[in-house]
């Protein structure tokens, strides 16, 4: 394990532990409004200052991390697996299957998502808890985010189908299912990794943007997405650097994950 990987491990461990210890580290909670100290700079009581309505930013970052760090990778995993399964399998099977899968993917890509999401929101009751709302949102993101990756995977898997090693494995009598899982899937890894890592920040931001449709995390619960929204329209960088903490945290965490897992990938390739 090299230095970088150790560092990544430490970062992730600290972030995870801190977010799970949020109840102890920030006992006042993420919703408490210190109305006499809105938009405050960092101080001993508010380590990262307070937001527009006086809520402790440190607490919000901790609780937001808990939400986003669990749900965004989960949704990314879901979409990656769906892409792998649909795109990979269709590409591997080829012929009619590939054409069918691509038709479905095209259909998915061309659907007016905005309206479907609005409909999804309309179907949900207005009185849902913030947690359910954010769960549903990430689930939707996971279920919808697979299409582009599936196209790439379908093509890649299609070319793998006629690869010599697949032919060799078939000639060795390896059954079809195992051919797919053992021989085709591992070779789709680079695409899958890319899909997974790209999806995480994309989903985190999408979740925030879906707030426009009444999806996503609901007030007062924080998520990285809603915390990043604070940076919207920020004119100068230097004045309030503590506002960048959620962004820095997002970049750090995604990079750490990547460092930690891509090593394995490198060896494999």
């Amino acid at each position: 394990m090299n230095l970088w990987r150790k560092l990544a491990c430490v970062i992730l461990a600290v972030v995870l532990c801190a977010s799970f210890a949020a109840n102890w580290l920030a006992p006042a909670g993420y919703a408490r409004q210190y109305r006499e100290a809105t938009n405050a700079a960092p101080s001993r009581t508010h380590w990262l200052g307070t937001d527009e309505i006086g809520r402790d930013r440190f607490a919000r970052v901790l609780y937001g991390t808990r939400i986003s760090l669990l749900l965004a990778p989960a949704a990314a995993l879901l979409s990656t697996l769906m892409a792998a399964f649909i795109g990979g399998l269709a590409g591997y099977l080829g012929g009619v299957w590939a054409r069918m899968a691509m038709a479905v993917t095209d259909l998915f890509l061309s659907l007016p998502w905005l309206f479907l999401l609005i409909t999804a929101r309309a179907l949900m009751p207005l009185n849902v808890s913030p947690l359910i709302s954010v769960l549903v949102t990430f689930l939707l993101l996971g279920l919808l985010g697979w299409t582009t990756a599936a196209r790439v995977l379908c093509t890649t898997a299609g070319s793998l189908r006629s690869a010599d090693f697949v032919r060799q494995a078939r000639a060795a009598g390896v059954p079809g299912q195992r051919l797919f899982w053992i021989h085709v899937m591992p070779n789709l890894k680079p695409v899958l990794y890319a899909q997974f890592w790209i999806s995480i920040p994309v989903f985190i931001l999408s979740e925030a943007n879906l707030g426009i449709l009444g999806l996503g995390v609901a007030e007062p619960m924080p998520s990285w997405g809603s915390l990043l929204k604070e940076l919207e329209g920020l004119v100068s960088l230097g004045d309030e650097p503590w506002k960048f903490v959620p962004l820095i945290l997002l970049v750090l965490v995604v990079m750490s994950f990547q460092l930690l897992l891509s090593r394995h990938d490198e060896v494999a390739a």
């Binding site: 010599d164 060799q168 494995a169 060795a172 195992r178 053992i182 021989h183």
Partner: protein, 281 residues
């Protein structure tokens, strides 16, 4: 064709035509017989349909587009009548294949142990220890180190020769009655090529498995084959013992092939096994 072997000696006899939808047939009524324990060379230039024949035997023709007609009788059953399941049970166990490019034929994303394990599991069930034993044995029989360190390697971490041996180890793991080597040495440098040829010969002798040795290179075939069939434009034009072919080529195409061979090989033909040994060792 003059040399019809006794019926019980026959391992595989085929009389087969293959065509792709809407095109000229690739194989036209090709008749071929492989006896138990013999090494049959199949020689022809690229595009002559050699590989198609190999794939037809294994049932690996592109299912939708290729049509095979005739019979391929292997151990008294017609392979063309086999279901996919029966074929799968056959591949790798009774008939196995070694392809041309060893590095492309191994999965770059998997350790060779995993690949060998998959090959073993395709036809055997047993404990992890049984599997490990089988892997070690087959690696040993192709003169590769059988230790863990080697087994943990990825194909990219091996030489071409080693990779080809791994492929052969995979192919012989279940002691097949017939091994099809499709241009198995063509991509190798001369020294490695002769080493692999020697390995084939030795495996043939020690295990008694028949080898269908497919090549475009008459010279490399000459050294190890008992009989040679010449495939030209989708049809067998000549078939006979190596000696017959080399000394009295009948067909005009065979004669042209012979004419293309370097002279030195032809003059040294009698002492050829020795030459091979000298080169190899």
């Amino acid at each position: 064709m003059s040399l019809k072997p006794p019926q019980d000696q026959t391992l595989l006899s085929a009389r087969v035509s293959v065509r792709y939808a809407g095109k000229q047939p690739v194989l036209r009524d090709v008749e071929i017989e492989i006896r138990r324990g013999e090494v049959l060379g199949l020689v022809g230039q690229s595009g002559s349909g050699k590989s198609t024949l190999a794939m037809a035997i294994l049932g690996l023709l592109d299912g939708k587009r290729a049509q095979a007609e005739g019979t391929i009788t292997f151990q008294n059953s017609d392979l063309l009548q086999f279901s996919e399941r029966e074929l799968r049970a056959l591949r790798g166990r009774a008939v196995s294949l070694v392809l041309q490019s060893p590095l492309a034929s191994l999965n770059p994303a998997l350790k060779i142990r995993t690949q060998l394990k998959e090959a073993w599991r395709a036809h055997a069930s047993g404990t992890a220890a049984d599997c490990a034993t089988a892997i070690r044995a087959s690696l040993a029989s192709v003169s590769l180190p059988a230790d863990d360190e080697f087994q943990r390697k990825y194909p990219s971490q091996m030489s071409v020769g080693q990779a080809q041996r791994v492929l052969i180890a995979m192919a012989i793991m279940h002691r097949p009655a017939l091994l099809i080597a499709d241009e198995a040495t063509s991509a190798l440098d001369v020294i490695t090529q002769s080493e692999i040829l020697a390995l084939f010969r030795e495996l043939n002798r020690s295990t008694g498995m028949a080898i269908l040795y497919i090549s475009h290179d008459l010279a490399s075939v000459a050294g190890i084959c008992d009989r040679i069939a010449i495939l030209h434009q989708g049809a067998i034009v000549e078939c006979g013992t190596a000696e017959q072919i080399f000394s009295h080529p009948k067909h005009e195409y065979t004669q042209r092939l012979m004419a293309a061979l370097p002279r030195i090989l032809l003059t040294n033909k009698e002492s050829e096994p020795k030459t091979e040994a000298a080169v190899a060792r």
